[in-house]
């Protein structure tokens, strides 16, 4: 009986540990069932994966902190990028900066927003269409990968001006029925 109790305690500990593993990637998760909290690395574990682009511009999307979350770095701190940022008073287009992957088992609609003004825009690299707002959500079937282009329109912006400090990637299964 004592051995069975120990076994039960061990199993319970393992179960609790597995439920709490990998915290830090998604800031909020809402599910239609109780306590469906799954947190994992952007790079390899999350249901909606965020990974650097496959080309040279993938250097602008980094996990510099090593915490499993991707960050958009267009200010001179990106490794392997000689420049200090996009030109002021110019338009810079960076294709395939990062990718969104549906690692789940159901289609999902994804879109991207940011806290800046219109100076920073997010487009689907494949067709150049906007990914901003839920109305522009792009459906990803299980296993689909969407490359994202970042456009910095600093036509009337002087140097040393912060254009964006937060990017939000939204994924909603309810928005996954469209094209």
């Amino acid at each position: 009986m004592r051995a069975a109790g120990r076994a039960l305690a061990l199993v319970a500990l393992v179960a609790v540990a597995s439920l709490t593993a990998g915290t830090g990637a998604f800031s909020t998760v809402a599910a239609d069932r109780p306590a469906a909290v799954v947190v994992a690395s952007d790079l390899d574990g999350a249901v909606v994966g965020l990974t650097p682009g496959e080309g040279p511009t993938g250097a602008f999307a980094t996990d510099a902190d090593g915490d499993g979350t991707l960050a958009l770095e267009l200010a001179g701190d990106a490794s392997g990028v000689p420049g200090a940022g996009p030109n002021a008073r110019a338009v810079t287009t960076l294709r395939r900066v990062f990718a969104i992957t549906n690692r789940g088992a159901a289609p999902v609609g994804v879109w991207v927003t940011d806290d800046g003004a219109d100076a920073v825009r997010f487009l689907a690299t494949a067709d150049g269409r906007s990914l901003e707002s839920r109305a522009n959500a792009r459906t990803l079937r299980p296993g689909d990968r969407l490359a994202v282009t970042v456009v910095v329109d600093a036509t009337d912006v002087p140097p040393a001006r912060t254009l964006c400090s937060r990017v939000t990637v939204h994924a909603d299964a309810a928005a996954g029925g469209g094209a």
């Binding site: 069975a4 076994a7 039960l8 199993v11 179960a15 597995s18 439920l19 998604f26 800031s27 909020t28 998760v29 599910a31 799954v38 952007d42 249901v47 080309g55 040279p56 511009t57 602008f60 979350t69 991707l70 960050a71 958009l72 267009l74 200010a75 001179g76 392997g80 990028v81 000689p82 420049g83 200090a84 940022g85 996009p86 030109n87 002021a88 008073r89 338009v91 287009t93 294709r95 395939r96 789940g104 088992a105 159901a106 999902v108 800046g116 920073v120 910095v152 040393a160 001006r161 912060t162 964006c164 400090s165 937060r166 990017v167 990637v169 939204h170 994924a171 909603d172 299964a173 309810a174």
Partner: protein, 177 residues
Amino acid sequence: MRAAGLAVAVCLLSAAVLAGPTVAGFVVTSHRTADVVTAPDDRAYLGVAVPDRTLANGRHAAVPLATVTNRFPGPLTSVTVRVRDADPRPPRLLSAPTWTGSLAVGERVTVPADVVCGGGGGPHDATETWTVDVAAESPDVAVTVTRRVAVTCEPPAPRGPPDRAGGPPATPGRGRP
């Protein structure tokens, strides 16, 4: 035996919870840090230098007007630099210089132009502002930059010091031996 059954139940419940978002009906909102800050041309991804020029009266070959540097993380496969002068009066471009080529990471190119100052009946110390258009592309990058460069023609230097020997003044138009 009851304990073993309970353990199995706990495992099954854990597995079910972990598998939750892989089935339909979930919303994920992932906030991520972004740092997007504009940079001056001398440090930006596309380096552009268009220093103002002051030129003496006459004709000048291969005046460096614009220098472009690739500071992106990958090569630029198509770079076009074009200098435009809308005013026909001096200073003026003898031809509209255009450079097209590619730039590796860290590589730079300086675009020269043939410029003439003076002549044409205009003032010798005129200043004009020319336009420099730079368009750079690669499969992963596209950037367009338009900058202005001021070109000034200096007035002609005096023909020589005044005669201090007390002799007769030099005859205009003849010069000194």
